[in-house]
């Protein structure tokens, strides 16, 4: 028997299908990651987004697929007689067993074709289906591989099937469903991984900077660096800079905290000069002056009026009104000659700043309400 195989082009390998697969994978990966990351970092909007985004995406996919489904449903199925070439029960545990049929479909108004299909058949009805037996089938004319055996044909077809004797057809075409493209699967997988990675990367600071305080911040690569960490803080000192990061629940405005931190950074005997000192709620960083360059406008970081810092922050914050959550930053430098301590406080009410001199006395105020 000469058999030619007619397989439609793999619709799953078109760039559009791959892009859709990639997008679907991305949405699934990103939402799953958002659910997990949202739970870990206790970020409610992220968690909600992990639920809402896939729902909306699924809805959009459903809406986008409506015209295609309506088109497919409007196709009137064609009924024909078919000869069972072979059949094989795939596995049988329940009363309906999936059976793999190889059929030769003989339409009234077209050439015969071979097709394979799997259909659930009840064990009691199984003896009705025998090789070389004739059955009634129906299929959508545009997708003949979706053939289905009609178990309860209408009386005219029942009569035809009972009286028909279909001879094996010498040359037939085999039809099969378009193969699932491997590129499509790859696009889905890639989208899944990238979607998940994007969410994790976006929230890496919350994820890894939270409790795992042993993670050192990037340091100057050329300089030798030393890292020490205690339960409450992390200290990184290189030849060019030093940073101290406090653990959760602590603040550099707490009494004595700043002095201790600066002492840790400058210990080692020699009084290292600083170019800039920047203090935030939990981060202190000092940029040291290069050694052997006496012209640089450096100052002794230990000489700053640290005990005045909480009062300066309070004073700047009063311009914004009390009670609102605020972030603050203090910068000390003497690039313009005399030592200047700049305090910036930001809250929902706007930003306020003030400048103080080396003793901690306020010399200038500025406020910008939003």
């Amino acid at each position: 028997m000469t058999t030619t195989t007619h397989t439609p082009p793999a619709t799953h390998n078109t760039p559009v299908a791959c892009a859709r697969g990639f997008l679907t994978g991305g949405v699934v990966g990103a939402s799953l990651a958002a659910l997990v990351v949202g739970t870990v970092v206790e970020n409610a909007p992220l968690f909600v987004a992990g639920l809402v985004v896939p729902t909306v995406y699924g809805l959009l996919l459903f809406l986008a697929g409506m015209p295609r489904r309506a088109r497919e449903a409007a196709v009137v199925h064609r009924t024909a007689l078919a000869r069972i070439e072979s059949l094989e029960a795939v596995r049988g545990e329940s009363s309906d067993v999936p059976v793999r049929f190889e059929l030769t479909v003989v339409p009234d108004d077209g050439p015969a074709f071979r097709v394979g299909t799997t259909q659930d058949i009840n064990l009691v009805d199984l003896p009705d289906y025998r090789p070389r037996g004739v059955v009634v089938v129906e299929y959508p004319p545009d997708r003949p591989w979706r053939v289905r055996i009609v178990k309860r044909p209408t009386p005219p077809w029942e009569k035809r099937a009972a009286s028909a004797h279909l001879e094996p057809v010498s040359a037939t075409t085999t039809v099969a469903a378009p193969p699932e493209g491997c590129a499509f699967g790859f696009a889905v997988l890639l989208g899944l991984l990238l979607g998940a990675a994007a969410v994790v990367l976006l929230f890496r600071a919350d994820l890894f900077g939270r409790d795992d305080s042993a993670q050192p911040p990037p340091s100057v690569p050329s300089a030798s660096s030393s890292t020490s960490s205690t339960a409450s803080s992390t200290t990184v000192v290189t030849s060019a800079s030093g940073t101290v990061t406090l653990g959760a629940g602590q603040s550099f405005l707490d009494k004595g905290e700043l002095g201790r931190a600066v002492d840790t950074l400058t210990k080692g005997g020699d009084a290292r000069q600083a170019l800039t000192v920047v203090v935030g709620e939990r981060l202190l960083s000092v940029v040291f002056a290069p050694t052997g360059a006496p012209q640089t406008p450096a100052f002794d970081p230990r000489a700053l009026p640290y005990d005045r810092f909480p009062a300066l922050v309070d004073e700047a914050a009063t311009a914004l009104g009390a009670g609102s959550p605020q972030t603050w930053q203090i910068t000390a430098e003497r690039l313009t000659g005399s030592l200047v301590i700049r305090v910036v406080v930001t809250g929902p009410g706007g930003t306020a700043s003030l400048e103080a001199d080396g003793r901690g006395d306020v010399v200038r105020r500025a406020g910008t309400a939003r």
């Binding site: 409007a74 545990e93 329940s94 009363s95 009691v124 009609v150 309860r152």
Partner: protein, 289 residues
């Protein structure tokens, strides 16, 4: 997290479901819902195939049905093969059965056991409205205390129950009257259908459905699934029984009239007690505000 943040979710929640409900009601008013665009005709059962002993009950009783498409006048003769709507559990030659299909596509027919059934497609919009309503009630209950939840949820439920109560009582009385007027004929279990399913854990469960056959006093040969509890259903084949059926609709039949009567009385009692509980909860909520 701050409870205030939850209020931010309330607006999109109500917005989305409120909009969905509005769109749904609008479509229903315009006659555009799927239910409204569905053609409903009455088909006639032309032939009934006796179920094969041991076969699956999932496909329903095999029937050949004829119906006419009112749009074209074309006559169709079809069977209930594959996914064809509601399972046919009671059949006799000449029985009227509902057939529905999207306008212009009679080949996509589905069977409905009750031919008079038809809706305006208000189910989903009403569900959306319910979700939209549940949002503010939940937030109110969280902010101001549990009595708001009781009043907000049980109040409308009790009102709806009270509204439907007279109809339920009429329905029960009709069924009790029907039980009293039933005719008795001999019948026989002609087959027992079996469906065995294996779930993912390898647990096998089987369902047995005995099939009854009886002939009414006016000569209609009825084949019916008997889905009520039957002691020794597996060995029921060949068992002779007395069938009590409603002469106006043989699809309504029982083996034990007295049990049927008790069951309807119990049903009404459960209904009334349920309504009472819900109404009490609503009142408690209102008092405790």
């Amino acid at each position: 997290m701050d409870w205030m943040d939850w209020h931010g979710y309330l607006v999109p929640w109500c917005g989305v479901f409120g909009a969905a409900a509005l769109v749904g009601y609008g479509r229903s008013l315009a006659g555009m819902t799927r239910a409204q665009r569905t053609v409903r005709v009455r088909g006639r059962i032309e032939r009934v195939d006796e179920p094969r002993h041991g076969s699956s009950p999932e496909d329903g009783i095999g029937v050949v049905v004829s119906f006419q498409d009112p749009a074209t006048g074309q006559e169709f003769t079809v069977t209930n093969d594959g996914e064809r709507g509601e399972r046919i559990r009671v059949a006799w030659t000449g029985r009227e059965i509902g057939v529905r299909y999207p306008r212009g596509r009679p080949h996509a027919y589905r069977f409905v056991n009750d031919p008079s059934e038809g809706g305006r497609g208000l189910g989903w919009p009403t569900f959306a409205l319910l979700l939209c309503y549940a949002g503010p009630v939940t937030v109110l209950a969280i902010d101001r205390g549990w009595p708001w939840a009781l009043l907000g949820f049980c109040g409308p439920w009790a009102l709806s129950g009270a509204y439907h109560l007279p109809g339920n009582i009429r329905d029960r009385n009709r069924r009790l009257d029907r039980l009293a007027a039933m005719a008795a004929v001999p019948g026989r279990f002609v087959a027992v259908l079996k469906s065995v399913t294996v779930d993912d854990d390898g647990y096998t469960s089987s369902r047995l459905v005995p099939v009854l056959a009886f002939t009414t006093l006016d000569g209609r040969a009825v084949t019916a699934y008997y889905e009520s509890n039957l002691p020794d259903a597996a060995g029921a084949r060949g068992l002779d029984v007395t069938i009590h059926y409603a002469p106006d609709d043989p699809a309504v039949f029982v083996l034990d009239v007295e049990a049927g009567r008790r069951s309807w009385k119990l049903d009404m009692a459960v209904n009334a007690v349920g309504l009472l509980v819900v109404a009490t909860a609503a009142v408690v909520g209102a008092v405790k505000l």
